[in-house]
Amino acid sequence: MEVVSVGTVTDGLLEVVLRGDIDFTNAAWVRKTVSAAVIDQHPSVVRIEMGEVAFLDSSGIGVLVDAMKASAEVDASFSVGHPTPRVFDQLRITGLLTAFGLG
C-alpha cells in the first residue's frame, strides 16, 4: 500500500492517510502529493491521519508543517490525527502539538 492516500473533499473535509515510514527518501514525493491536493481541492478542513505511521523523521515532520502551511493558504483548518505514542512524543519534543491540534 502507498505511504500516502489522499481522499476527495467531503463536506469540506480533506482526509490524507499516511502509512509506514515517512522519511527523507520519500518526503519530497509525499509533500508534493499532499500540498497539491490541498491547493487543488480547496477544503475547509484538512486532517492527516497518522495512526499507521510506524516511523517518522525530521523530513516527514517537515511534510506535515508544509501541509499545515498549504492549508493556511486556502484558509483551511489543519490537524493531525491518531499518531502512535512514539510519534506523538516526537511531535511534542519538536514543539508541534498545539500547531497540529494535538495539544
Partner: protein, 141 residues
C-alpha cells in the same frame, strides 16, 4: 583495538539508496543489544537523522559503525563532506513551528544520552551514545 568491555560491532557504508537499509541495520543491532520500545525508536530516529544529514550535506553518504561498551551502545557516522564550520552550534534549540526544516539535529540531541560532533575540512564524524536497560538498572560490570 577494542578496549576491555567493548564488543566489536559492525560497519556499514550507506548512501541515499541504502538509507533505509542502514536504519533497519541499526534497529536490529540496537534491539539485539537490549534497547526496546520507546528507547529503541528514539535511538533509531537519532541515528537516522545523522545518516540522513551525511547523505544531504556530507558528500552523499558515509559509514556507520556500531559497537557496545560497558552497557552503552554507540553509533558513529562519518562522512567525507565539507565539514561544519561550528560543529558544536547546531541543534541546541527547537525551530519555530512554521519552519519546514532544521529539526533533525535537535531531535537527535534530545533522544540520545550524548551526541558529539567532530568536524574539519576532511569531513564530519558524529558519535551517538545510548544507555541500555541493563546498565540503567545496575552498575555491576
Amino acid at each position: 583495538m577494542s578496549e576491555p568491555g567493548e564488543t566489536l560491532g559492525l560497519e556499514y557504508d550507506f548512501d541515499f539508496d541504502t538509507l533505509v537499509a542502514a536504519r533497519r541495520l541499526v534497529e536490529r543491532y540496537a534491539e539485539r543489544h537490549g534497547l526496546t520500545e520507546a528507547d529503541l525508536y528514539r535511538f533509531v530516529v537519532a541515528v537516522n537523522e545523522i545518516t540522513t544529514n551525511a547523505v544531504r550535506h556530507g558528500g552523499g553518504g558515509g559509514r556507520l559503525s556500531l559497537w557496545q561498551a560497558d552497557g552503552r551502545l554507540y553509533c558513529r557516522v562519518t562522512d567525507n563532506g565539507p565539514g561544519l564550520p561550528w560543529p558544536d552550534e547546531p541543534g541546541h534549540r527547537p525551530v519555530p513551528p512554521g519552519s519546514s526544516s532544521g529539526r533533525g539535529l535537535w531531535l537527535a540531541r534530545q533522544w540520545v544520552n550524548r551526541l558529539t560532533i567532530e568536524s574539519d575540512a576532511e569531513g564530519t564524524s558524529v558519535t551517538l551514545e545510548a544507555t541500555t536497560p541493563q546498565s540503567k538498572q545496575s552498575n555491576d560490570p
